[in-house]
């Protein structure tokens, strides 16, 4: 029973990824000017050269054949190469970019979990009071700030306007520093990107957590706990918070999956971090189909996986869904 559900879910995931890959492929070839032959061949290439290049890259084959070849190279032989940076093997490129994205997303996740918990708990503790209102307005503001705008402003201040002041003189050049080569440099290089990326999430998670805690307060077991004379702090932290963490954790799963899949694209581009998001961005900019395809497959894998995991944990954790 459990196994059957798992297999079914897996089949669904494969179907979704297949659908996405076909769509990406078709959209690419339906776009005028996307034919890579002329761009590969270079400016003012003679017609003979174009033909040779087209043949070399298999671009003169029927589309279904091209699709099959591309999928084979991507998933079976792992030797799919970029159209733009010829010779760049796409699969290793993504594997190499993944640590950058993981560093960014893990660090940001630490900030947003701590920040989200703090905001949610404090606001719930002083619910409907002054602190609550201020925190909620701040959270909303955090949510409302467009990430790219925040990133640009951060760079404007930390790299230019205030770079020579005490506040930002420690900020290193934009770009990634490998963790095992230089842990301090890694931390310094990523601190501002972490804060930038996590701000919006702190806002969302804080608000959601607060709402859930306050909702839990209406449940009978909390009333029972209070009636027993358990202290308010203890009620909040031991009982209400624990119950409220379920949606919090599932939300985290979804967001984390999307970000690891390259969703932190804007942050990576603005801070010059060569992660999966930056790879995706560059490939979209230059319409580099093999890289687009690989990064989209990679991203959709994480998104779909996170969806599936969250669905399943939800079914296990939430008695209400189970009863249906």
């Amino acid at each position: 029973m459990m196994l059957a559900a798992l297999v079914q879910r897996l089949a669904q995931m494969l179907f979704v990824m297949f659908g996405i890959s076909v769509l990406v492929f078709l959209i690419f070839f339906a776009t005028p000017g996307s034919d890579p032959a002329a761009r590969i061949a270079g400016k003012n290439a003679a017609p003979e050269t174009l033909v040779a290049v087209r043949h070399d890259f298999g671009l003169d084959q029927p589309l279904p054949v091209q699709y099959a070849v591309m999928m084979k190279k991507l998933f079976v032989t792992h030797d799919l190469v970029s159209f733009v940076n010829r010779g760049l093997k796409v699969v290793p490129a993504i594997i190499e970019a993944a640590p950058v994205t993981l560093s960014l997303v893990f660090g940001a996740a630490v900030f947003w979990l701590i920040g989200g918990l703090a905001v949610g708990i404090l606001a719930a503790a002083w619910r409907d009071g002054f602190v609550d209102r201020i925190l909620m307005i701040l959270s909303l503001t955090g949510v409302a700030i467009p990430v790219f705008w925040l990133g640009e402003m951060t760079n404007l201040l930390s790299q230019n306007r205030l770079h020579d002041t005490l506040l930002f003189s420690w900020v290193p050049a934009l770009g990634y520093v490998s963790l095992h080569a230089d842990p301090t440099g890694w931390f310094k290089a990523l601190l501002l990107p972490w804060l930038t990326l996590s701000l919006g999430f702190i806002g969302i998670y804080g608000r959601v957590l607060r709402a859930n805690i306050v909702e839990t307060y209406q449940e009978d077991f909390i009333r029972t706990a209070r009636a027993k004379g358990i202290s308010e702090t203890r009620v909040l932290l031991r009982h209400a918070l624990r119950m409220s963490l379920v949606p919090f954790v599932t939300m985290f799963g979804l967001d984390f999956g999307a970000l690891v899949g390259g969703g932190a694209l804007v942050t990576e581009v603005i801070f010059g971090l060569n992660g999966v998001g930056k790879l995706t961005y560059d490939s979209l900019q230059s319409l580099d189909l093999p890289v687009i395809m690989a990064s989209v497959m990679y991203a959709s894998f994480f998104v779909v996986l996170a969806n599936a995991i969250v669905d399943m944990t939800y079914a296990v954790l939430d008695p209400r869904t189970r009863s249906h």
Binding site: Q12, F15, V16, G19, I20, L23, V24, I27, F28, T31, P32, S34, R127, I137, L140, T141, V143, A144, I145, P146, V147, F148, W149, E152, M153, L156, L197, G200, F201, I204, Y205, R207, V208, A211, N212, V214, E215, Y217, Q218, M251, L254, D255, A258, L259, G263, A264, L265, V266, T267, T280, L284, L287, I292, V296, A299, S300, V303, V304, N307, H324
Partner: protein, 344 residues
């Protein structure tokens, strides 16, 4: 594709049994007592009215045309003639800088952009486009999401499975690729749907793109809600009594879904305004010389280091609008669903 989902899953929590009779009057009553929601509504009214008054500001107060280049213009400030676009004369004498904020309402309050156009006037006009795109795409999202969500939730079975996977594909799809591709495809081919002609300068493109990409976001919770309703005692009883499905849909399901949709309106508006900004970076959306908050931010981006106000101002306006919409959203949700008011 979910890129830094600015709103994550801040889905309003509607409980299943909020099936009160005559919810509208009650909601209005509750809403009128909610101070912060009223304040947010007021802020939004100010934003909307200011946008609507854009022609009056541009024409009567500032006396500028925000849609044509003003490269040779000069203004008089404190008795001095200042060019709107000033070539640098110091150092190497390279670069041309547009005039910065004068903080005088009658002339270049927020300064000029690289075409010498008044940023404040464009900001006001931009509000019209942005708010229009935001509302129209919200309407599309909600209608489609309601349709998909109800079909999937009510009929279940293979319909549900197919629709759910389609939603999955849509959610994980790299929407920027579609956007880039569409922007190129539409350069010289127009899509004609009967009397409706879509070319690349049409606002319909960003509206449809934004409208469609968030369908999964709304359709999923609606599907869940309908699923729950479908299994509730009163619907099971109605089916048992032989009430035809369209009756059940109209009487029992739709009213509940509509309250959920209403709660989604401000949230989706906020989300869509943010997305409009992102699409503007891909030149998809309002075309030059028109303005939207997104295009002004993009124009201001190249001036970020010399005239930061050009992109800061629309950024702040967007933030204020989105915050207000969310507070309003909370107010609307509380008004429709007192249980979610979450008071101990």
């Amino acid at each position: 594709m979910a890129t830094e989902p600015a709103f994550g899953s801040a889905v309003p929590t509607l409980s299943d049994d909020s099936r009160a009779r005559g919810p509208w009057t009650q909601a209005l009553h509750r809403f009128s007592r909610d101070g912060s929601a009223l304040a947010a509504a007021l802020v939004l009214v100010v934003v909307v009215v200011a946008s609507l008054l854009a022609p009056i500001y541009a024409g009567r107060i500032a006396g500028v045309d925000p849609f044509s280049s003003n490269l040779e213009g000069e203004i008089t400030l404190a008795g001095e003639n200042i060019p709107v676009l000033a070539p640098s004369t110091e150092g190497l004498g390279i670069g041309v800088i547009p005039i910065g904020p004068t903080w005088q309402l009658n002339t270049y309050f927020l300064g000029a952009d690289e075409q010498g156009r008044d940023v404040l006037a464009r900001l006001l006009y931009g509000g019209r486009a942005t708010l229009f795109i935001g509302s129209a795409s919200t309407a599309i999202t909600l209608v489609l999401a309601a349709f998909v969500g109800i079909c999937a939730g009510f009929f279940g079975g293979w319909i549900d499975r197919v629709l759910s996977r389609v939603l999955d594909i849509l959610w994980a799809f790299p929407i920027y690729l579609l956007a880039i591709s569409l922007s190129i495809v539409l350069l010289n081919s127009r899509i004609e749907l009967g009397p409706l002609v879509i070319d690349s300068s049409s606002l319909i493109i960003p509206i449809i793109i934004i409208g469609v990409i968030y369908v999964p976001y709304v359709a999923r919770p609606i599907r869940g809600q309908v699923l729950a309703l479908r299994k509730s005692d009163f619907v099971t009883a109605a089916i048992g009594l032989g009430v035809p499905p369209h009756r059940i849909l109209a009487r029992d399901i739709l009213p509940n879904v509509i309250t959920t949709l209403i709660v989604f309106v401000p949230l989706m508006m906020a989300l869509n305004i943010a997305t409009e900004t992102a699409l503007s970076f891909l030149s998809l959306g309002v075309q030059s010389p028109g303005a939207s908050w997104g295009t002004i931010i993009r124009d201001g981006q190249s001036l970020l280091y010399s005239r930061p106000w050009v992109s800061t101002a629309p950024g702040l306006v967007i933030i204020v609008t989105i915050v207000a919409l969310n507070i309003l959203g909370d107010g609307v949700r509380d008004a429709f669903d007192p249980r979610a008011k979450l008071r101990p």
